[in-house]
């Protein structure tokens, strides 16, 4: 059976040139915007108490005393989970396109530009291609484990999404053990890597799987200790509680409020890069050494799941760093009392409340995309580290460094008065801005050395 899809420029879009642009606009803006609006409409009601109040007010039905209370709540959460899973898949796809375009720019080439405007639909085409490909399982492989491995990875990716706050009210569920839960749940991905490496019964896959297990396990230690620094500062494990303990302006972010947190932020980001197997830590799938590492034997949709998990993990990594250190969804100039005032006392909030919620989601999304861009930038700048370098970086530098940050934060939290914290906030923000300005000037100078005084952005 052959199926041809008109996603390339030779067929459908040549006949209907506007179709490609319309499809691109829909996929690029309509889909994510639809998901955000759906999330905003549904997520604020995701506690049994709010549902009770809604049923009471609109339907005159006493849901709280009804035996169907948890069935209604579960059906409601199913919708929430569906939106979250869709968001993951769409982000995983879009970020591959962004990565390839950015890589193209960085290497002075064009990058994907055929399906859709600016090649945007290439991720859809890739997904379709992956599903159409033959799904082979090596004869010598452990069939059950080989089939099960992608699901472990998928679950490990989706679990942290449950507590990742997208906005003031937009979180699937705000657990009181949030950070601890993320540390536990993200370890599921390594089960997928190890199981796929073992089950493939191929040398490359096994080496990749074992390397991956060693790497992800090692880097979980500095990541876990560095993530304790914001917990110490906020005094809670809940993700929303940690964001609420910060403010909208940069000097109110945890990263700038304490010199140890500033260091812990870099330790946490480095460790999460390694946990997500991103270059320079992509040793489990180092293509020049291990063919493709743990997914060398995978093809078709199973490979697609592994790749989607890998790219969508960037959102978790960046979103976690933004939530814990960079102020999360906090909008500058708006505090907790503004949200409470706009929410009012009635059942349905005022339109201004929805506006503020959208603004808070925008803050989170913009910060997270900026950090995702940094991850992509690092990937196309740094070469891969060696295995022994990876191990000594973790255990000889990051683990003692994270311990040091932890102890300094303890002393800092107990002894430094609020005025000192505020002063540190301003000072470190100024320092960061100074470094960024220096960097921008140096980059501008480097560009003008090769390309004259013109930065060519025409490629986009």
């Amino acid at each position: 059976m052959r199926i041809t899809l008109g996603l390339d420029s030779t067929s459908l879009s040549r006949r209907y040139p506007r179709l490609a642009i319309l499809a691109t606009l829909f996929m690029a803006f309509g889909l994510p915007l639809g998901l955000y609006v759906a999330a905003l409409a549904v997520f604020p009601l995701n506690t049994p108490e709010r549902l009770d109040a809604m049923a009471e007010q609109w339907l005159g039905y006493d849901l709280a005393g009804s035996p169907y209370r948890y069935i209604v709540y579960t059906a409601f959460l199913l919708l929430v989970a569906f939106i979250a899973v869709n968001y993951t898949a769409v982000f995983g796809g879009v970020s591959t396109w962004v990565e390839r375009r950015v890589a193209g720019r960085m290497q002075s080439r064009i990058g994907p530009n055929r399906p859709g405007a600016a090649g945007f639909l290439s991720w859809v085409a890739d997904a379709v291609k992956m599903i159409l490909k033959e799904d082979t399982i090596p004869a010598e492989a452990d069939h059950l484990l080989f089939r099960a491995a992608p699901y472990f990875s998928m679950v490990g990716l989706l679990l942290p999404f449950v507590v990742l706050p997208f906005g003031e009210a937009t979180v699937v569920t705000d657990m009181n053990v949030g950070v601890f839960y993320v540390a536990a749940a993200s370890a599921f991905v390594v089960v997928g890597i190890l199981v796929s490496g073992w089950a493939s019964n191929s040398k490359w896959a096994l080496f990749g799987g074992i390397r991956g297990a060693a790497q992800v396990m090692s880097y979980e230690i500095p990541a876990g200790i560095a993530m304790m620094v914001p917990v110490l500062m906020a005094g809670t494990l809940s993700m929303q509680g940690i964001v609420r303990a910060q403010g909208g302006w940069p000097w109110q972010w945890f990263v700038f409020q304490n010199p140890a947190a500033f260091v812990a932020f870099f330790i946490a980001v480095t460790a999460s890069l390694a946990e997500g197997n991103r270059t320079p830590f992509d040793l489990p799938e180092a293509e020049s050494e291990l063919v493709a590492g743990y997914h060398a034997e995978y093809s078709g949709f199973r490979l697609a799941i592994f790749l989607m998990v890998e790219w969508a993990n960037m959102w978790i990594m960046a979103g976690l760093a933004v939530t814990l250190f960079l102020g999360g969804w906090q909008v500058p100039g708006y505090g907790a009392e503004d949200y409470a005032r706009l929410l009012g006392t009635g059942l349905l909030p005022a339109p201004g409340w929805f506006g503020l919620q959208l603004l808070s989601m925008l803050m989170f999304v913009v910060k997270t995309w900026a950090l995702v861009f940094v991850f992509i930038w690092l990937r196309w700048t740094l070469p891969r580290v060696r295995v022994d370098q990876m191990m000594s970086l973790c255990w000889k530098y990051l683990v003692p460094g994270a311990f040091l940050c932890f102890v300094v934060t303890l002393v800092w939290q107990l002894l430094v008065p609020p005025a000192g914290v505020a002063f540190t906030g301003y000072a470190l923000t100024a320092l960061a801005l100074f470094v960024l300005a220096k960097f921008a000037v140096a980059t501008r100078r480097n560009i003008s050395k090769v390309a004259g005084h013109r930065v060519d952005l025409g490629n986009w």
Binding site: N46, V80, A81, F82, K133, S202, A213, M217, I221, W395
Partner: protein
């Protein structure tokens, strides 16, 4: 709250269903032409030599033990980290600031715990568990 874990279960469920839907789609539209050569595990183009599940270096084993030690340590530190201000202050907190001095029981005990682990790290380092090559 127990209701939090309904969401966790549902996300696992929906994620698995989405992955299974890819599987069903691939089964329905994907091509399948199995052949003996295709079913051999990849090894450099030639037939695989030996059993891939042979021995592998022992240095992964002490590393796994080290991971267990430090991960459990982190798991113990998390609950302490949440309440450390109340635990480590000798008197009651005033506006989040400890003015009465640091209590040795709450603060010192955690520090002693950390020091024991650092000794373990130094021991592993000297034994060559973490410095490969």
């Amino acid at each position: 709250m127990p209701s939090d874990y309904i969401a966790v279960t549902l996300v696992i469920l929906v994620g698995t269903v989405v992955a299974l839907q890819f599987w069903a789609l691939a089964k329905f539209v994907g091509e399948r032409r199995p052949s003996a050569a295709k079913d051999i595990a990849y090894e450099a183009g030639s037939d695989p030599v030996g059993d891939p599940r042979g021995r592998f270096p022992v240095r992964f084993y002490p590393l796994a033990i080290l991971f267990v030690v430090f991960d459990i340590e982190a798991a113990f530190l998390y609950p302490w980290a949440v309440d450390f201000r109340e635990l480590s202050c000798a008197g009651p907190l005033r506006a989040g600031i400890c003015a009465t001095g640091i209590s040795l029981l709450g603060f010192g005990a955690a520090l002693a715990f950390l020091v024991v682990l650092l000794v373990a790290l130094v021991y592993a380092w000297r034994k060559g568990v973490i410095g490969w090559e």
